[in-house]
């Protein structure tokens, strides 16, 4: 799932969480140029596909990045 507040789904036990931009524009950013905005949305969608393709054992946050390795962040609210 894509979330702007990943600590919530991660704490609740969602397994594959992708960081979105903001609550009010989750999958894009209206302050960017239309071209960059389109690229950003595509990157978020691609990150979601990468998450679906990745084996996870526990709630895992997937950051947008070009590398294919999932980055596991625990900035949260103790996902226990």
């Amino acid at each position: 799932m894509v979330s702007a507040l990943p600590s919530v789904p991660l704490t609740l036990g969602a397994h594959r969480v992708v960081r979105g931009i903001r609550v009010e524009h989750l999958c894009g950013d209206p302050t960017l140029s239309p071209e960059s905005d389109r690229e950003l949305m595509l990157l978020i969608a691609r990150t979601a596909l990468r998450a679906i393709k990745t084996q996870v054992q526990e709630p895992t946050l997937f950051e947008r990045e070009e590398t294919q390795a999932p980055s596991v962040h625990r900035e949260l609210v103790g996902a226990s």
């Binding site: 702007a4 507040l5 600590s7 931009i21 609550v23 949260l76 609210v77």
Partner: protein, 440 residues
Amino acid sequence: MRLEVGSVQVDEIRWGPSTRFSNGTLTLDRDEIEELVLQDSQIERTRAEIASPGDSVRIINPNDKIEPRVKVAGRGVAYPGYQGRPTEQVGSGRTHRMAGLAVIDCLDYSAAGESQAGEDRTWSRDEHGTLGNDWPEGVSPDFIDVSGPGAQLKPFGTLHNLCIVIQAPSGVSADEQHGVSQSAAMRVAERIAETVRNVQPDYVETFDTQPRPDLPSVAYIPHLASFEPQVGPRGRFGSAVYGQGRLSAPWLLESTELMDGAVAGSGHTWIMANNPVVMSLARRHGKDVNFLGCILQRTNWTNQREYVLAAHRAGVLAEKLGAQGAIITTDVRGQRWVGTMLTVQECENRGIDVVLLTEEEDNENGAAPALLFAPTELKYVVTTGTGDVAGGFPAVDRVIGAIDEPTAQWYKAFPPLHGRYGIAHVADYYGYGSQSYADY
């Protein structure tokens, strides 16, 4: 800082030929009050009404609630910054408050259409759905009964209430409608507070914020919703600190500043000036606690990193103040809970003992946790229940809060209310009452 708060008890409120206060009785010139409201040319129609405890009255469409307060000595004005008032620092000198009284603006939208397509549907097109099979259609849980079992649970059911019913101006944004309404209520409250400027209070409490590091040191961290994401940085919605409603790093305020109304708006003006946590800590300051002050945390950030940053800054402030403990409150749930939990974590991780004071979620007879989510650091909670009312609401003779006659539904008896999920009635975010929930 040192503040004397003189409480003038209002025992009776009635209409009369002139506005004055004498021997516990507040007499109000109805025409004067209504003209004061109509000073704003955007307000076409208004009506002033009175509701006292025990009356068979229901107040509907309540917006803000204000306790009339006036600075009689010291800097600044009561409710500084609120709706354009001066922003000089308050919290010292002497303030008179009218205990047992609230001014409530009831904002009636029925004549106003949607203001601006799309943007304002937060406030204009809400479809609450039904409150349950036993509840009539078209009523919302946000009303105030001043008699019956529900009256004891909110402060306003036990107060004399001067209600200013205002027809929401049409053709302007919801934000502006609220600003107009709250400004009018503040004009009225200010006028009424003038009647006790020179009155000898029934009792005077003196609050001195001089540190007492020999006693356990506690900070208070309320989370106050900002509506900046909805209405922009200068919107008039939401809780304001010296009039500032915007999202910001946490503010550090003395307890006496809150007593002078430094936090206002969002329907919480009365309760923030009388905040039970602030008052309890301030009254016990120097006796068994060293009350360090209030770290006002803003919430409604719209992504995680901002929430994390805000939590860190509150933690830095609390630690720098020397807090050994902190009481944390949160004024609404939903995504604001994220910020609240991050502040809890941040404080605990810095060795500050946290107690969270909050309403809880509906446990659904054992099927659901009592909190939206909880990090492992959260261990100590005081709960004010789910916002439900067990006793139900008897039928009433009079309904206040609509410019024209309200629908017949509003006069009816309502059954007991099972709390939470948008149907909370009590909304006790600051530990005003003794109602709670327990494990069974």
